[in-house]
Symmetry: C2
Subunit: 436 residues, 2 copies
Amino acid sequence: MITNVGLLGYGTVGAGVAKIISLEDSLLSQKVGWSLKLARATVRDLDAPRAFPPPPGLLTTDPRDVVGNPDIQVVVEAMGGIEPARTLILKALESGQNVVTANKALLAIHGVEIFAKAKECRREIFFEAAVAGAIPVIRTLKEGLAANRILSVFGILNGTTNYILTRMTQDASSFQDALFEAQSHGYAEADPTADVEGFDAAHKLIILTALAHGVLPSLKDIQVEGITKLDAKDFDFAGELGFTIKLLAVSARNPEDGLLEVRLHPAMIPQGHLLAGVSGVLNAVVIRGHASGDIFLSGAGAGMMATASAVVGDIIEIARLSHSAPAVGKPSLGWQSLTSERIKSPTEIYTRYYLRFTVHDRPGVLAAISGVFSAHNISIAQVIQKGVDPTGSVSLVILTHLAAEKDLQMALSETQKLGVLTAETKLIRVEDFARY
Amino acid sequence: MITNVGLLGYGTVGAGVAKIISLEDSLLSQKVGWSLKLARATVRDLDAPRAFPPPPGLLTTDPRDVVGNPDIQVVVEAMGGIEPARTLILKALESGQNVVTANKALLAIHGVEIFAKAKECRREIFFEAAVAGAIPVIRTLKEGLAANRILSVFGILNGTTNYILTRMTQDASSFQDALFEAQSHGYAEADPTADVEGFDAAHKLIILTALAHGVLPSLKDIQVEGITKLDAKDFDFAGELGFTIKLLAVSARNPEDGLLEVRLHPAMIPQGHLLAGVSGVLNAVVIRGHASGDIFLSGAGAGMMATASAVVGDIIEIARLSHSAPAVGKPSLGWQSLTSERIKSPTEIYTRYYLRFTVHDRPGVLAAISGVFSAHNISIAQVIQKGVDPTGSVSLVILTHLAAEKDLQMALSETQKLGVLTAETKLIRVEDFARY
């Protein structure tokens, strides 16, 4: 018996999948119980250079050699982008093929449609590689922690930004220098927008929210803030205050009002927290279940072989399931029951805040600013004032207790009218993991 | 439709399972697709106090109300110990029931027999809770990393000893004081032997070895060393050298000779390694796959609800699988293909070593000891000598490069003949994770 696999796309991910299936034949046969065979792979250009040389006859430019080909049981979508990936996946499901994809943007945007189609066609769509690469976070949410109400998921979901933040933490680099270094190592693309503005991580956060809470929010419903405005100075102060700055993804049900918070933004996290130790291009996730407590997972979030590890793991599971129950009988958990639910708007969210004001070095400034905070019912936990720069300005760092974003923004806008600020005020949220 | 679950044992684990199934009815129904019902639970004493009150009529003293009861599809063995657990599990499989167990000692000792029986009867045995509590390490090895050759597994697999070592690291406690503290918090039993001598962790290591490498070694084949001989002084030196001392489980294929190393012993690990940050009663595992790279998992390794989280996760998966394929068609990975393979004997293993000699404070001692090392071809990486104690002895700490245990033991025995030692020499292995 043979399970035939068809690839849509033979770029980095496709080549990695081909490499594992070609070189680990006996391992995979042992796991599945029979052979996996790579049957066809679609590409745009038959003659482009490849990271792993395809066997003769594998490549084709016609997607119909894969999608709807009755000899192919599992279709791996490894082309990326929205179209034609969406249409091809829908067609594959309609043709009775099972699908594996690593396409987070597609699932985040069209997940509801695609999963409804899979259910309708009684076919399976697996997507372990879409979030956090080789780390089995999807399986952990779907299966390992199935007995739990999921209280919160915190994650570092983008390796490019984590590399940049690690450099800024360890070498006191500027954002621009760290980005340039990431680009020179191949960790960041020439146009780094999707990574540094947070969109890539936000797509993964949307998928995790669906699995954890049964809701697939739109990008516009969630708070997304990238790392481009972070300043080397704030990394200094973070260290002094016992924090590390990370681009943190949060999907949590607030225990006080029962509402979902889904947000992605730079956050100061305590240096002793396991997430603070996740450095370089690694990804990590902490899932809190009502029975399990915190489960922490970390590892490679991207790269040819790490992504292929997750894709081929999915292929193996589908191959085995489809043998035992030809119309796959093990429905994807979580997606079965997607509901609509209001996500808390950013202004409704409470966190602690780190604020760095750049102010004139003269008497009364601290009193004026702290007066504004007090008027808005924002309680101050800690203050650091130091360093006069050549222009005569000083940094005034304030760490607040829990405060409403709405109150905080009003207070900040009032501080602008005091006539004491000499530069833009920097704001970084301080995460208190114990609250959820 | 209903899946009926029968419990063997209603102690801490059984009560936790009952609590989740009773209180999270709608969550579980949504995940499974129909209801899970706790049908019967066997106990020795119907009137003993219980951590979660059983519904009327649940308890019985007759195991035949569970094992072989045609109304019960899933049997959860939560009684512990070897017999009658072994016999009851075998009977349940023969009766066509699927089994979930958290019994690591039973699987480590009788795994070959039990898994052969499951295969013969085409029934499933799941055991996520047997290793590292709520952490989905079994699923990750079986499924998430199925596409990988597993190169190594490193783990902190016993919460009691990790708590003791954390106290010794953070508070400079003696082993006895830290053990007493663990006992007073309920983290260690009155007779702590199974934990502090390493047997509990060794059973888990045997199970991980079966999943990672397809070999189920006997306890006598592997190197097991507990933490009872660790001295507060060595935690001081460890910190000075940039290490943390952990009770480390290792199951790795040595890339140089292709042989399996399976060992459990105190180890110095670099403070920057993620395992060094695993403190208190937490457990953690790092799995290195050829494609995935290092996947790190940590969380609660024990406790009523954490263990129940893993058990009920297994029940959910079995309930769904057995619906789609009544004779479960998804065979347990890894166990399918258990083979026999020689495990490297302790004397064949190379590691780096931390050695603390207690010596007379007089000239020539360092030269004499280092001469012995040199004669045995053991290369010294670092030396610290300091502190004269009231008896006139000093501590001489030597960190070696990679050396064979056999050579090292010969060298140590020669140093005893030099007439310079005033106390027993302490040896702790230094782990170099990059070697595997």
